[in-house]
Every structure is written in structure tokens, then in C-alpha cells.
């Protein structure tokens, strides 16, 4: 299956202590690796207020995993999150296509800047066209 880039964000219940969270994160990391995913980044976003109650909790610890994985591996990671008791919510978002789009825009911007600075460059093109038309 094709490798894609995903962000998996999950929320851990707020009554866990730091060590328990660290342990949970490393467990999830190894689950992901075992499922065939490559863990690119782990970001602990810290405790945040939830916008609405989730399982009667009004806040939670947000954790963000960036994975390179195929659909099957993501499915397994999601299953692990679902059965993990301290995890109260999770969301998977595919980001590779958006990243591709952003890279394209970035590239476009840089070439535009180059073109405007090197103004006289496109001048010889009409000459090149002219002989082709006569031939």
C-alpha cells in the first residue's frame, strides 16, 4: 500500500500524571512502529481546555503524532487509540497532499520573484518564434 503522511492528534484524560502520559505516548509510538508506520514527530501540546465536554472531562492533554504510513497501519493505530482507556478522543488528518500544494505555492512564489528581478530575460523569445513561423 502507498505511504502517505498523516497527523494523528489525540486527547488524554487530564487526571493522568506526566509519567503516565509519557508511558502512553511511547506505547502508542511502538504500536505505530509495529504496524509499519514511521513516526516522524511527536509533539506534546500540553493541557488544554476542551471546547465541549468529552466523557465528562472539560480539559485534556493534547498529543500530536506525525506518521508516514499506509492506510492499514493508520487503521491499526486508530484501533489502538480507540481501545486505550485514557485516550478520550482522536483525529487523523492526511497532510501530504496539503503539503504538496503548499510546496507548489512556495515554489511558484519564488520563481515569480526571480522573474521580476531578472526582467530582460524574456526578450529574445519573439525572435526565436519568428523564424519558426516562416519555416
Amino acid at each position: 500500500m502507498q505511504q502517505r503522511t498523516y497527523e494523528v492528534m489525540f486527547i488524554v484524560r487530564p487526571d493522568l500524571v506526566d509519567e503516565e502520559i509519557d508511558k502512553l505516548v511511547s506505547t502508542m509510538e511502538s504500536h505505530a512502529t509495529n504496524a509499519g508506520a514511521v513516526v516522524k514527530n511527536i509533539e506534546k501540546m500540553g493541557k488544554r481546555r476542551l471546547a465541549y465536554l468529552v466523557r465528562r472531562f472539560s480539559d485534556g492533554f493534547y498529543i500530536l503524532l506525525t506518521l508516514e504510513a499506509d492506510g492499514k497501519a493508520i487503521h491499526e493505530v486508530e484501533r489502538r487509540l480507540r481501545v486505550s482507556e485514557p485516550v478520550i478522543k482522536f483525529l487523523t488528518v492526511r497532510i501530504d497532499e496539503e503539503q504538496k500544494r503548499l510546496d507548489k505555492i512556495k515554489q511558484l512564489r519564488s520563481t515569480k520573484v526571480k522573474r521580476s528581478t531578472a526582467e530582460p530575460a524574456p526578450a529574445p523569445t519573439p525572435e526565436a518564434v519568428a523564424p519558426a513561423a516562416t519555416a
Binding site: R48, A51, Y62, L64, K89, F90, L91, L102, I105
Partner: protein, 107 residues
């Protein structure tokens, strides 16, 4: 035939209307009578400021486009262009799913 360009003058009587309540999207109809809709900036923030990515994690940015009850503000009020509004609402919905933004008003 009064000039509608200046919205503040048409409302009559300064009162406490000065700091316009932006999130109150239906505010124009409230209070009865008169056209006191505020001239909103009709330009797309994302086009103008060249904001390329509209990400669900960027709560600060997104919350500027949801009303206080949690609704997505329609683009006719915010001036956001159609392609950007589409990506904006996508991001808001993702943020709602992971409890970064509310689905509806909290009571």
C-alpha cells in the same frame, strides 16, 4: 438618500453601538428599522495577507471566523472568497472534531 458609506452616522444616536459586535452576525436585523448594516471589509483576508495554509490546529485564526455560538460565519459577512471559505470550513470542522472549537453554544 443619506450616504450609506458611513455606517455609524445612519444609525442615529451614538449610544453604545460604537464597538460593533462582530460575532453577532445577525445584528443588522436587530433593533428594528433603518439600514444600519455595517460596511464590512469585503476582501478575503487569506488572499490579502497571503495566508496559504488554513490549518485545523490554528485555533486563533479559525476562531475569527466562527460566531460566538460556534457557527461558521458565512462568507457574505466576512468577505472570504469561495475557495478559501471552503478550506476554512473544512479546517473548522476538523477543529470541532478534536474539541478545539465548539460544535454549538455551550450552556
Amino acid at each position: 438618500m443619506a450616504d450609506t458609506a458611513t455606517s455609524s452616522s445612519s444609525s442615529g444616536g451614538g449610544q453604545d453601538r460604537g464597538p460593533r459586535r462582530d460575532s453577532r452576525s445577525g445584528g443588522a436585523r436587530e433593533g428594528g428599522g433603518g439600514r444600519k448594516f455595517f460596511r464590512r471589509k469585503k476582501v478575503c483576508k487569506f488572499c490579502v495577507e497571503k495566508i496559504d495554509s488554513i490549518n485545523y490546529k490554528d485555533v486563533r485564526l479559525l476562531s475569527g471566523f466562527v460566531a460566538e455560538r460556534g457557527k461558521i460565519v458565512p462568507r457574505r459577512l466576512t468577505g472570504v472568497c469561495t475557495p478559501h471559505q471552503r478550506r476554512l470550513s473544512e479546517a473548522i470542522k476538523q477543529a470541532r472534531n478534536i474539541a478545539l472549537l465548539p460544535f454549538a453554544a455551550r450552556f
